[in-house]
């Protein structure tokens, strides 16, 4: 069932990009890695079952990139888009509480309700390169990791250095 359902939805949004072996060889110490697809890794840890990390890569259009002066409006639009997209996907109230775009990294933090009642917190970091970006997304049914923990994990992943084809 999972596969059946997962495939269409994964494909519903993506994806055509090709990736190097380097991406698939990413590791986070103490975390169990699952390669969901060639461009999608999932990390989990038995000690913190509520917390997972998803790392994905994709292309983007550098000509239509985030700008500080329109960031607020653009994020608002994106929030709306995510609410629309999540309509059939067991989510609602997709909210982006904080956002920033610095050093070519889009940092988002927010929450949504899964199955109408389970609040999920997320922290999403999008690291942009020339035409690709790496998305590191922390999802937690309880609380998000602390800033230091996130910083530590990101330093291990080194997204800005992930080699992409």
């Amino acid at each position: 069932m999972n596969i059946m359902f997962g495939i269409p939805f994964l494909l519903m949004f993506f994806s055509l990009s090709a990736f190097s072996a380097e991406f698939s060889s990413l590791q986070i110490q103490g975390w169990k890695k699952e390669e969901l697809s060639h461009d999608h890794l999932r990390f989990s840890k038995a000690s913190t079952p509520d917390l997972v990390i998803h790392i994905q890569v994709d292309s983007y259009d550098p000509q239509n990139h985030w700008k500080a002066e329109t960031l607020k409006d653009d994020v608002k639009k994106m929030e709306k888009m995510r609410n629309s997209m999540s309509f059939f996907m067991g989510m609602k109230d997709y909210t982006i509480n904080t956002f920033s775009f610095e050093h070519n990294v889009l940092d988002l933090e927010g929450s949504y309700l899964r199955m109408g009642n389970k609040k999920v917190q997320f922290k999403e970091l999008n690291f942009y390169q020339r035409e690709q970006f790496v998305q590191v997304k922390f999802l937690s049914d309880a609380a998000l990791p602390s800033k230091d923990e996130i910083k530590k994990i990101i330093s291990e992943v080194k997204p800005e250095k992930v080699e992409l084809d």
Partner: protein, 842 residues
């Protein structure tokens, strides 16, 4: 249309429908109660609106959904069966949803979003800024993965709830139907598309019981291989192209006339990079079309008249085209006839006058069969054409539809029953029925294919002259009244000057009562003519009253006034026939009186109701066909009716008199039917006596029966044995037996439609022989009842050889001479030959 386009179209239709119906809701009048509306009809509505562009092969037919019939008067058991039907439908949809629809829908959404991005975005639109789109898509993928991974069941339930929430408003506003009709549509539409069993069960009464049963049958847990997923797998296998490059390439393809679908196909086929964008030719050019065909792996569609001129297949014309179009029998949902018949009984006890019956029948069925088309399939096609149009036109009368409380259809008639509501004026509904009937007659006449048949028909002046008068209609408060009213319109059959209109029983009841009086008066007058009794033109029936003999009824049945240019010719024919049969030449007045008496009684014949029509497929015959037709059933029925009318004693109210008359006639006809059923048993036993190893049984449809030997082809001895066996019955002449080979003498298999024609030909020959041999100076009627004249026919592509099998008595040399002479003189068709006479042992 390509699969993705198709789904995309559905998706858009679905969206548009939601909007349009939501808007329409405000204008809808008060909800109407479609209490008796059958699912088939609703299904057709749905098909008309939504599914008309869906190819037949992927559209679920109405037949497949026919269990889903809802009406307000349903019993608990019916509701349960309805629920079960819906659940079955939903279970199938459930599997299809996951295996076909969902993956395709996902692809369609993908296309939609990309397509929108490429073609529709404008400043201010949702897609005008793609900022965050890719990021969001990725983010959402992670979210969905976790949701599914943590609690798949709950995720599905939530997903379904969302979908049904989205579908709910659509259903709620769905063209202002009553709640019951909406349930029908939910089953037809939603179960077809998205409704899962779990949600459906909430909607349908007793859904859980049905679900349990289906679960036990493993119908709702079955999941097949994801067919749509294969397409997605292909998508994944296709050469990877960055989205940016993909979009950029598409713009170039689009500029040459390619659609996004074309482009995606090319990508999936891996041929996207087999051509440089600058080498692309516009699709408007021949070279571009060739390129298109190559890239998509299709046959080039550029017509090249010199080499590819398509030779059109020869389309069937005239009758063949008509049979092609209307050959498939129009059927009501299973059980309709039975339900209708049950309601006839209960309605007879009602006195509230809130039931209205309508009856329309092909009044010239027999003549069309015997004299014009000479094949049952042609007449069946004519009837289908009329009944299909009637059924379609009925839907254009919503008030009739709302009150539709039963439908009946058999090989020659269509009957409906309306349950009026409090305050309904029956006259208004009879008027609507009259309009419906008139429109159907007009449509039937004006059908372009009918037009061709009309042109091909030989000019006639009788009841067959005008197809607009072939189907006659009537209405009344019960089934019998409606049928009587329809029959009383027969006097207008064939009249182009005075085309038939819907006859209303009430307008005729007084006249009908007088008619019954006049019938009896006529009979009494006739019975004073001693010569008629002496010559056995009239006989004393077993109730002691004098009525025409069966032989005389037979003459009056065969000789119809409409077949003659003048009354004089008609009467002369009757007279000559009575001279031949009874040795009594009738004067015109007596002939006229007898004919009038017969016609009046005939017009009162009670309708026959059959719970189902048995379709006998003649193409199944491999080793020949044995056909049985029970002769004289029509004569026996009229005889019983005549007898019954002599017993009517009511002198009070019109209603009482009519009731007694019809009840007694019905009782007599029922007796004939019972005797026919007994004769069928005799035939069954006779068949098994010939070859008891053959486990096949005869099939009966009305008074016709067919046996197709299964073990071996029958030889002369087998055929003679059957005749001999039937001849031991009380009235052997009742069995009109014909043997027809399933292959031509040349060895070729006879097509099914042709087999039907050849059986009719053999039966006609038997009738001709008997009409020629029975008479005052030939074989007496009483003697003729003792034997069987079976026809054994080996058809050739033109004509064929006929043998005659006689059985039932020791024939005198004179009788044999008479029979042989009649036999030979009746074989006069092209290529037809006399074979031999076979005598079965007596």
């Amino acid at each position: 249309m390509k699969a993705n386009q198709r789904w995309l179209t559905y998706f858009l239709i679905f969206q548009l429908l939601t909007i349009s119906l939501a808007q329409a809701a405000a204008y809808c009048p008060a909800p109407k109660i479609h209490s008796g509306e059958t699912f088939t009809r609703l299904c057709k509505n749905v098909d008309d609106i939504i599914c008309k562009d869906v190819p037949d092969k992927i559209r679920r037919s109405c037949d497949e959904r026919e269990h889903t019939i809802v009406h307000s008067g349903m019993s608990a058991n019916e509701v349960y069966n309805f629920a079960k039907g819906c659940m079955k439908s939903a279970a199938t949809s459930f599997v299809e949803f996951f295996t076909v629809f969902l993956p395709d829908l996902c692809k369609a959404i993908w296309n939609l979003t990309k397509g929108t991005f490429e073609t529709l975005s404008k400043p201010g639109d949702f897609f005008s800024s793609l900022k965050g789109y890719y990021e969001s898509a990725r983010a959402m993928t992670a979210d969905v993965y976790e949701a599914v991974n943590r609690n798949p069941g709950q995720f599905f339930a939530d997903l379904w709830n969302k979908m049904t929430d989205a579908v709910g408003p659509l259903v709620a506003s769905y063209d202002c139907l009553s709640p019951q009709a909406k349930v029908d549509k939910i089953c037809g539409l939603v179960a077809e598309w998205v409704m899962p069993p779990a949600i459906l069960a909430k909607i349908i009464v007793r859904g859980s019981k049905a679900a349990k049963e289906l679960y036990e049958l493993k119908l709702i847990t079955k999941l097949g291989e994801a067919k749509g997923a294969k397409a997605i797998a292909d998508f994944e296998k296709a050469p990877k192209v960055s989205l940016r490059e993909y979009n950029s390439l598409f713009k170039q393809f689009k500029a040459k006339g390619y659609t996004l679908e074309d482009f995606r196909e090319i990508h999936l086929k891996g041929s996207l990079k087999s051509i440089k964008a600058e080498d692309l030719k516009p699709l408007t050019t021949a070279e571009g079309k060739k390129q298109y065909a190559r890239l998509l792996g299709k046959k080039e569609e550029v017509p090249s008249p010199a080499v590819k001129a398509k030779v059109p297949e020869k389309a069937p014309t005239g009758l063949e085209a008509f049979k092609t179009k209307y050959g498939k029998e129009f059927k009501l949902p299973e059980g309709s006839n039975r339900e209708y018949m049950a309601k006839i009984e209960t309605d007879l006890l009602r006195k509230d006058g809130k039931v209205l019956y309508f009856d329309v029948e092909n009044s010239v069925q027999k003549k069309l069969n015997d004299e014009i088309f000479k094949e049952k399939t042609a007449v069946d096609a004519l009837n289908n054409s009329f009944f299909v149009k009637f059924n379609e036109n009925l839907r254009d009368f919503p008030e009739l539809m709302e009150r539709l409380g039963g439908e009946y259809k058999d090989y020659k008639s269509y009957r409906i029953r309306l349950e009026l509501k409090p305050g309904d004026d029956p006259a208004r509904f009879e008027k609507m029925l009259a309009e419906l009937y008139k429109k159907t007659n007009k449509d039937f006449y004006a059908d372009p294919l009918m037009n061709q048949i009309r042109k091909d028909l030989p000019p006639r002046t009788d009841s067959l002259a005008d197809p607009a008068t072939w189907f006659l209609g009537g209405s009344g408060e019960n089934a019998l009244e409606a049928n009587m009213a329809a029959r009383s319109a027969r006097k207008n059959a064939g009249s182009t000057v005075n085309p038939p209109k819907l006859n209303k029983f009430k307008e005729h009841s007084g006249a009908l009562s007088k008619e019954i009086d006049s019938i009896e008066q006529t009979r009494k007058t006739l019975s004073t003519q001693k010569n008629l009794i002496e010559k056995r033109i009239l006989e004393t029936a077993d109730n002691g009253n004098i009525i025409p003999s069966k032989s005389m009824i037979g003459i009056l049945r065969k000789i119809k006034p409409g077949d003659f240019q003048t009354e004089k010719e008609f009467l002369t024919k009757i007279s000559s026939k009575t001279q031949e049969m009874f040795g009594e030449k009738l004067d015109n007045e007596t002939a006229r009186t007898l004919a009038g008496y017969f016609q009046k009684v005939d017009s009162l014949s009670p309708p026959l109701f059959s719970p189902e029509r048995v379709a006998i497929d003649l193409k199944e015959a491999r080793k020949g066909i044995v056909s049985i037709d029970f002769a004289g059933i029509g004569v026996d029925n009229i005889h019983e009716q005549m007898k019954a009318l002599t017993e009517v004693t009511s002198t009070g109210s019109v209603e009482k008199k009519l009731h007694e008359s019809f009840t007694k006639m019905q009782s007599g006809v029922n007796q004939v039917t019972r005797e026919m059923e007994e004769a069928k048993d005799v035939f069954r036993k006779a068949i098994s006596s010939v070859d008891n190893a053959d486990k096949k049984a005869p099939q009966f449809s009305g008074d016709d029966g067919i046996f197709m030997p299964g073990t071996r082809s029958w030889g002369d001895a087998d055929k003679a044995k059957l005749v001999q066996s039937l001849a031991t019955s009380a009235d052997p002449s009742k069995f009109r037996v014909t043997f027809v080979s399933s292959t031509y003498a040349e060895g070729k298999v006879i097509p099914a439609a042709e087999r039907s024609k050849r059986i009719v030909r053999a039966e006609t020959l038997e009738k001709d022989i008997r009409s020629k041999i029975i008479g005052i100076e030939k074989i007496s009627d009483a003697e003729a009842k003792k034997f069987i004249t079976a026809i054994d026919y080996v058809p050739a592509e033109k004509g064929g050889v006929f043998n005659l099998i006689l059985g039932g008595k020791e024939f005198t040399p004179e009788e044999i001479k008479t029979i042989e002479s009649a036999f030979k003189s009746s074989i006069k068709g092209e290529g037809e030959k006399f074979g031999k006479i076979i005598y079965s042992a007596h």
